[in-house]
């Protein structure tokens, strides 16, 4: 069977509704909607957190109330902070080491998302987040023996308090912006990864997030520390069922890449179309370290997500790869932020965006070269594909260069699928829809090929779903 025929075969079998339906679930604690100091204290005492964490939460909360909403980017007027469920936990489900122990209805949810398959294949550990608590967690023994810590954030706070305290919100301080402050106040769950000096993890570590309660916020905290000379690859995917009220995702990802270390962070985010995805991702890279961001933004009604790399050590490097797909009613405001703070640092950015059905995709980037970052090199490229005449694509790359011994290049292109390309494919017997899907697949291929197989397949699936009915 040809590759195209295969593609079309699985498109037919797909049913997008599985992503739009949630399981009915009794919440163990009837936590009220809306934000208050009492709620923040309750989260902290429920989790049995140390005093410094409660103090941090309360400081963040004060900051959240003090900070205004951003006056740029997407329209956040539809966001009602009082209607959001900030914290929920399903019953007694806690960390399980074995898939068989996971309750049936939760398993069904994951099976729809393809998790067990991923597990069966090479992916090393699964930390699957189901409603703010990690329910399933496994890590290959060999990594454990080498001192790798791959834990649910709440557990990590209990068992590795010193490590968490040393790094927690040191990369993204709560005073950074309103949503970082909100995150600092109500964060819950997430993933903690610690790779000790010199340990190289060859298989990707994986976690899958999923929101299931209507109007439920997701404030997971991801903290990754990659020690000197260590290597790792972490992947996360996000999918939320569709509900009628506005949900918010304000997660936070902090990555510390130490001297000579290398880390890749891949994520496929497919939040439901009523979710605001206001995620903060940032990494600090030391001497000779390498950070790689691979990201796909598909769902949500509005996304504001700009993974940021701070290159503070000599010869540090950052590579950003990303795809954004804006369909009807969506604004994908994404980009990359790179701060060159040391000599001989290099960065590359490759972003691809697709707009369709009136969707708006925005590339908003920052490239900052600080004084003293001699010999810094940066290449930024963003390509946009607009599939119909009502969709939009904006490119806003901010470049601030305060050093002369640098080499900076930026390129952007916006266009549509050429008539000739389509004509050629159609003359080979493809329908117009198939031809468009093929061109789109080719357009995003440089990024898809950087994802592990399962994710590449899922990403392709999602793109195909979004592409349905591109004609007429």
């Amino acid at each position: 069977m040809s590759k195209q025929a295969q593609t079309l075969d699985y498109i037919e079998k797909l049913n997008k509704d599985v992503f739009d339906k949630g399981n009915a679930y009794e919440y163990a604690k009837g936590v009220k909607r809306g934000l208050s100091e009492a709620l923040v204290r309750q989260i902290s005492s429920d989790k049995g957190e140390p005093a410094w964490m409660l103090e941090h939460r309360l400081r963040s909360l004060a900051e959240f109330y003090a900070k205004p909403l951003p006056r740029w980017g997407i329209d956040l007027s539809g966001l009602d902070f009082d209607k959001i469920l900030y914290y929920a936990r399903p019953g007694e489900i806690k960390n399980r080491q074995d898939w068989n122990d996971v309750p049936e209805d939760i398993k069904r949810t994951f099976e729809r998302l393809g998790i067990p398959e991923a597990e069966k294949k090479v992916l090393a550990g699964v930390g699957a987040q189901y409603e703010s608590e990690v329910v399933y967690h496994s890590l290959k023994k060999q990594w454990q023996a080498q001192g790798v810590i791959f834990e649910d954030m709440d557990v990590a706070l209990r068992e590795h308090e010193d490590l968490v305290k040393q790094y927690f919100m040191k990369c993204v301080p709560y005073s950074d912006h309103k949503f970082a402050a909100l995150h600092g106040a109500v964060w819950s769950g997430g993933t903690f990864l610690y790779i000790p000096k010199g340990v190289k993890i060859t298989m990707p570590l994986q976690a899958y997030f999923r929101m299931n309660a209507p109007s439920m916020g997701q404030f997971e905290h991801t903290l990754m520390i990659v020690e000197e000379g260590a290597e790792g690859h972490y992947i996360e995917g996000c999918s939320a069922p569709k509900y009628g009220s506005q949900a918010l995702h304000a997660g936070c990802v902090e990555i510390f890449v130490k001297k000579g270390a290398r880390f890749r962070y891949s994520s496929v985010e497919n939040w439901s179309k009523d979710t605001y995805n206001l995620n903060t991702k940032r990494g600090i890279v030391d001497e000779d370290g390498i950070i790689e961001w691979v990201g796909g933004n598909m769902g949500s009604c509005g996304t504001m997500l700009y993974p940021c790399s701070i290159l503070r050590g000599r010869r540090a490097r950052a590579d950003h790869l990303g795809i954004a797909f804006a369909n009807a009613g969506q604004v994908q405001d994404t980009g990359a932020k790179i701060i060159h703070a040391a000599p001989d640092t290099t960065s590359t950015v490759l972003m691809k965006s697709i707009s369709k059905g009136g969707g708006v995709s925005v590339y908003r980037g920052l490239l900052k070269i600080l004084k003293g970052a001699k010999g810094a090199k940066s290449q930024v490229r963003c390509d946009a594909l607009i599939l119909d005449e009502i969709s939009r694509s904006n490119t806003i790359p901010d470049m601030q260069i305060a050093e002369n011994d640098v080499s900076i290049g930026h390129e952007a292109r916006v266009g549509k699928i050429g008539e000739q390309e389509l004509f050629y494919l159609m003359s080979r017997g493809l329908s117009e829809n198939e031809a468009i899907a093929m061109v789109v697949n080719g357009f995003i291929e440089p990024i898809i090929k950087e994802l592990p197989l399962e994710y590449a397949v899922e990403m392709n699936k999602l793109i195909e779903l979004e592409m349905e009915g591109a004609i007429g």
Partner: protein
């Protein structure tokens, strides 16, 4: 409507006139040496062609706004030559008619403590319009130049083309260049692109020159001149070209 361009006028005015307009089918060339703070309005009628050269020097006011409209088949060629200390120069070009064209070129030389902000915007309101924004920037000493260009294609700009290109040469450790080359594209049947680069003079280039007995000073001059020349040569006024080359030599 179509009339053949009949006359080519070239005149130098010191922008006291607020409205510059070129009548249907006419061709004109205007050199503007602005002296006071101004809001200049410019109108290029159907099938008309205007070469507009703006010289912005220390004598100019710190704020300059120019708003131009180009009608069907009209062509506006603009040159902005900037050798000033502090200025914010806002240029907005509305391409109102089908097949209207704008080619906007900026030559910016920042020295001393210069602080210049350029905000050129081309707005495509009609089908098959074309815009080209080219900028060459040289900064030395502690000059700071911001170039926030924008190509904005509205929903009915099908078949349009827009290109934004910005090249900067940084000659000192303390000079700064910032840029936000923006694209706002509201429809699909268009071609739009932008490119930006910021570089310094390569040590290899200087070494090559030195090995042929050229001092660093004159090598820098040659490279900087070579960097600006392609744009300078497009200026349709020989006298001005010569004056510019002389001025660059002085500043370097």
């Amino acid at each position: 409507m179509q009339t053949t361009p009949t006359q080519l006028k070239s005149k130098t005015i010191s922008a006291t006139q607020e409205l510059l307009s070129v009548a249907i089918g006419k061709k004109a060339q205007i050199i503007l040496t602005a002296e006071a703070q101004h809001t200049i309005l410019c109108d290029v009628a159907e099938s008309a062609e205007l070469n507009l050269i703006r010289l912005i020097t220390d004598a100019s006011a710190p704020g300059e706004t120019l708003s131009a409209t180009v009608q069907e088949n009209g062509v506006l060629n603009m040159w902005e030559i900037i050798f000033t200390q502090n200025a914010t120069i806002e240029t907005t070009i509305h391409l109102h008619g089908v097949r209207a064209r704008i080619h906007h070129r900026s030559i910016i030389f920042g020295t001393g403590t210069t602080n210049i902000t350029l905000l050129p915007t081309a707005i495509h309101h009609a089908p098959e319009t074309s815009s080209k924004l080219d900028a060459k920037i040289i900064v030395k000493d502690s000059a700071h130049v911001r170039y926030n260009g924008m190509v904005d294609m509205r929903n009915n700009a099908r078949g349009s083309e827009g290109h934004l290109e910005q090249r900067a040469l940084i000659l000192s450790d303390t000079a700064k260049v910032s840029a936000i080359p923006g694209l706002e594209i509201g429809t699909n049947d268009v071609r739009a692109s932008h490119a930006a680069s910021m570089t310094r003079i390569d040590q290899d280039q200087l070494f090559y020159a030195a090995s042929r007995g050229i001092t660093t000073e004159s090598a820098v001059y040659m490279i900087a001149e070579g960097f600006l020349k392609p744009l300078i040569h497009t200026i349709p006024d020989q006298k001005l070209q010569k004056m510019l080359i002389k001025k660059i030599a002085e500043l370097l």
